[in-house]
Amino acid sequence: MTSFIKPRISRKSAPKNKIGLTRQDYDGTMSTLCAGCGHDSVTAALARAFFELSIKPHKVAKISGIGCSSKTTSYLLKEAHGANTVHGRMPSFATGAMAANTSLTYFGVSGDGDSLSIGIGQMIHAMRRNANMLYVLENNGVYGLTKGQFSASADIGSVAKKGTVNDQPPIDPCALGLSVGASFIARSFSGDREQLVKLIRAGLMHKGFALIDVISPCVSFNDHKGSTKSYEHTYKYYSKLVHADYIPPAEEIKAAYDVGESMPIVLHDGGEIILRKLDPSYDPSDRSSAFSKITNNNTKEIATGLIYINKNLSDMAEQNNLQERPLNQIPYKELNPGLDNLKEIQKSFR
């Protein structure tokens, strides 16, 4: 717990985005996480991505569960709508909110405990529905908030702070997502800000469920020798598979990519996600090759980047004919079918 507050200072030369806001306008309250926690880096990456995309903070809904990771949503986007829900229930809450109002940009933040233990059922169904949201899973291999018990993402052989060795196989959220139909699956590391910000931009602009599994070290309970989720271990073994970045419709694609290695994916808004493959044989739009890439990995290597993308899957709103108009903007008269209509509707179910 820190004893100080970060002052809100706008330096005169601070760059502004298209809607006239500075990066600081995307900040939230001061973080109370341990100094050095990976989750704070994720917060910073999210704030930067929202700033760069010039998204209006009050047009965002930020939802989370319980855990240190789930506290992230307080630390950015002060003006956004948001809720800390019950442990593991973030996906269901977000799904419901989306049903009532599709006009907001949704992002959920969860942890490996929140998502892969108590909340695993919720998460799977949100992916299956292809709910249009960014889902950031801050993965540290432990239950940080409750002082460091192994979570379901802990690797076999990883050693806890007090010496216990984990024997159970880990659940890989990316493999899980692939198997149940998530349409955007990525992995990153809190220590690679550049990659993470770009993936977040792409994930936010992707229409459908975008999962980013972010290795995010817990400095207090899982950053020691023998841990496979420490800074040292992750820096040593993480490797880049596919770069991805979102380029808005009007912007020119500045970076010169090698043809063959680059792969533009045009999105519904006319913007593009540009993929740059470091392994030219890898095809991130091929689900089975993605699956084998991440499951048949016998090295300790942590493949990062955009692992899989399918922009053609219909999202939850399309599948269910959800109105673009938020429910709260539909007049009561229109929203309430009236007694006679209700009777007709009920008749159709008999």
Binding site: P7, S41, K236
Partner: protein
């Protein structure tokens, strides 16, 4: 890129924008902290060691530090550095016991100093305590140079000036008033071991336009006129006065005219305001006194009737100004006559040395400025040194002081037979300010207060006496607030690369985003881009760390926008960042021989 060499004393010195901009390198944040602790005497002595005249400069310094002040990058106005200097001077205790004294045994060397301005006084201040026998020759009846004869007493009271000159005179310096030096050649023959020329740039420029010589009585040269007023030879002026020129002299002339009874005073400028040479605050103060500032009027001639000045003819100018504010073209679009009773010409000063004979061995350039070495201040004649306005033309008091310090080192070396080039280099000491987990020995929290406004004596009252000081000084509340505005730029962020675990905590906490961890490349532009800042003002350096242990990337810091808030160091889980006070040691004549090596004190 190569890691930054933070042992180079200039590296951290440059980060302290005010100190770096001050010609005498006054350690501003140090004295501001002393004031914050109520140690006015300490603050005064800290100032005096660098700038010799804190009471004088706390009122009338040109303040090159303020436009440079870091605070100006996050807020409209810089820290009131100059006002705080005055606070130290006004509230100090008796400081005589702490001043250097004349030693009981002199070293037998005699130094002559020509002119009793700030330059000569600084040389004497530095040399007398080392045992030099210093004699200052002054042609006027009172000491102080232009500080006495030209800077009006309503800006700089005589008591303040005399107090600080007396500290130096009391070191056993001989002051010979009413003693003009009329011949350099004879002075050279008087057996002095060294001569310092601090005679200023005493010649006011004239304006040779039609009608100029028809009424000599009502057309005045600004600096001469101010001197006549200061010495009470002139006590009156006409009702309508025109001041030609827009520098600081013009501002003193217009305000002095009002105090001598002028009813309407106009300052006439040839160009728009952005081209004015006067400091903003001087123009503001003049306007507060209802002086009219008129722009785009170029003088064409003096109009007289029967040998009496009645007005001046001007061309009204139109300027073609480009986006960067440069004048591309100017043309006259009309002519106008403005009636007046007196005109004061305040269009600049020149050097003049009628008393230095051509064959005295001192060479001058085509503008009559002596050829003086920029580091040693020695002229082309060995043992003769120049400083202040006499050396490179008119500047200001704080430059005169710095020239004085440097000339004193040279004279000391000259008299000891040491090469003038052998000067003790600047040094830096770094001392951690860490006292506990989140505790530092300086107040690191950011204070949002805006610059305190200096109160002025009310308009009616201030004209009752010619020497009524206009600025009243800061109140206790104002002092307490203003000191907190200083960001303590000398408390440096010191990085210990091997300790860093690349967790980004410092980067995320930094309120101005001036840190980044990035791949090392030789291209500074790419590295600058990684600092999430579009617009890098290039007047400050980038800090580049050694390579970090996990990824071989580097920690980079943009020194330009750091606020020295210490949050990076508070947040770092491994204490890889520390906030260390950087004490820059700049040697004067008295410490040329002391051993002082740059070091880090933990």
């Amino acid at each position: 890129m190569k890691p930054t060499d933070t042992n180079n004393p200039d590296y951290f010195h440059k980060v302290v924008d005010c100190q770096w901009a001050c010609p005498a390198h006054t350690p501003v944040p140090t004295y501001i902290r002393q004031i914050a602790q109520g140690d006015y005497t300490g603050a005064y002595l800290t100032n005096r060691a660098s700038n010799v005249f804190p009471g004088i400069l706390g009122r009338v310094c040109d303040r090159p530090c303020e436009p440079a002040c870091r605070r100006g990058r996050v807020e409209e106005k810089p820290v009131a550095i100059c006002r705080l200097k005055r606070v130290a001077a006004d509230h100090k205790d008796d400081i005589k016991q702490y001043l250097p004294k004349k030693p009981s045994v002199l070293n037998g060397k005699k130094i002559a100093l020509v002119g009793a301005g700030p330059a000569s006084f600084t040389v004497a201040n530095d040399l007398a305590p080392l045992g030099y026998n210093c004699t200052i020759y002054e042609k006027l009846s009172k000491p102080g140079g232009l500080m006495r004869s030209n800077i009006p007493a309503f800006r700089l009271p005589e008591e303040v000036l005399m107090e600080e000159l007396n500290y130096i005179i009391d070191m056993g310096v001989k002051l010979k008033l009413n003693t003009p030096i009329n011949s350099m050649r004879s002075l050279l023959q008087e057996g002095y071991d060294a001569i310092f020329v601090g005679s200023g740039a005493p010649k006011g420029k004239d304006l040779n336009l039609p009608g100029r010589w028809e009424d000599k009585k009502h057309i005045h040269i600004g600096i001469n006129w101010l001197e006549e007023v200061a010495f009470e030879h002139t006590k009156k002026i006409g009702d309508n006065v025109l001041i030609i020129g827009v520098g600081n002299t013009a501002m003193d002339c217009c305000r002095t005219s009002l105090r001598l009874g002028a009813k309407s005073v106009k300052v006439m400028g040839r160009k728009p305001r952005s081209f004015f040479k006067a400091s903003d605050w001087e123009v503001e103060d003049a306007e507060e006194e209802n002086v009219e500032i008129i722009i785009n009027h170029s003088p064409e001639g003096f109009i007289t009737k029967n040998g009496r000045l009645t007005g001046m003819l001007f061309s009204i100018m139109e300027h073609d100004i480009d986006a960067d504010g440069n004048i591309l073209n100017s043309k006259s679009i009309a002519k106008v006559t403005i009636p007046c009773d007196d005109v004061i010409l305040a269009i600049g000063q020149e050097n003049a040395f009628p008393w230095i004979e051509v064959d005295a061995g001192i060479e001058f350039d085509q503008w009559n400025v002596p050829i003086v070495d920029k580091k040693t201040f020695e002229s082309t004649k060995k043992g003769v040194f120049f400083g202040g306005d006499s050396a490179f033309g008119p500047k200001n008091i704080i430059w005169a002081v710095e020239h004085g310090h440097q000339a004193a080192i040279s004279i000391h070396n000259h008299c000891r037979g040491v090469s003038l080039k052998q000067r003790a280099p600047d040094e830096i000491k770094l001392k951690s300010t860490k006292m506990g987990m989140f505790e530092w020995s300086y107040s690191n929290s950011y204070d949002e207060s805006e610059r305190r406004k200096m109160e002025h004596v009310d308009l009616v009252k201030r004209f009752s006496k010619l020497n009524m000081e206009v600025e009243v000084g800061y109140s206790p509340d104002q002092i307490a607030t203003e000191v907190q505005r200083c960001l303590n730029c000398d408390i440096q962020t010191v990085f210990d690369a091997p300790k860093c675990t690349e967790c980004d905590a410092c980067i995320d906490i930094c309120p101005v985003e001036c840190l980044s961890i990035t791949e090392n490349t030789h291209n500074e532009d790419i590295i600058r881009k990684s600092l999430n800042s579009d617009k890098n003002e290039l007047n400050q350096s980038l800090f580049i760390s050694e390579e970090l242990k996990f990824t071989n990337r580097i920690m980079v810091k943009d020194e330009n926008i750091c606020l020295h808030c210490g949050l990076c160091a508070e947040r770092c889980p491994t204490a890889a960042w520390d906030m260390s006070e950087g004490i820059v040691k700049i040697h004067h004549a008295d410490s040329q021989d002391t051993e002082y090596v740059s070091e880090v004190i933990k």
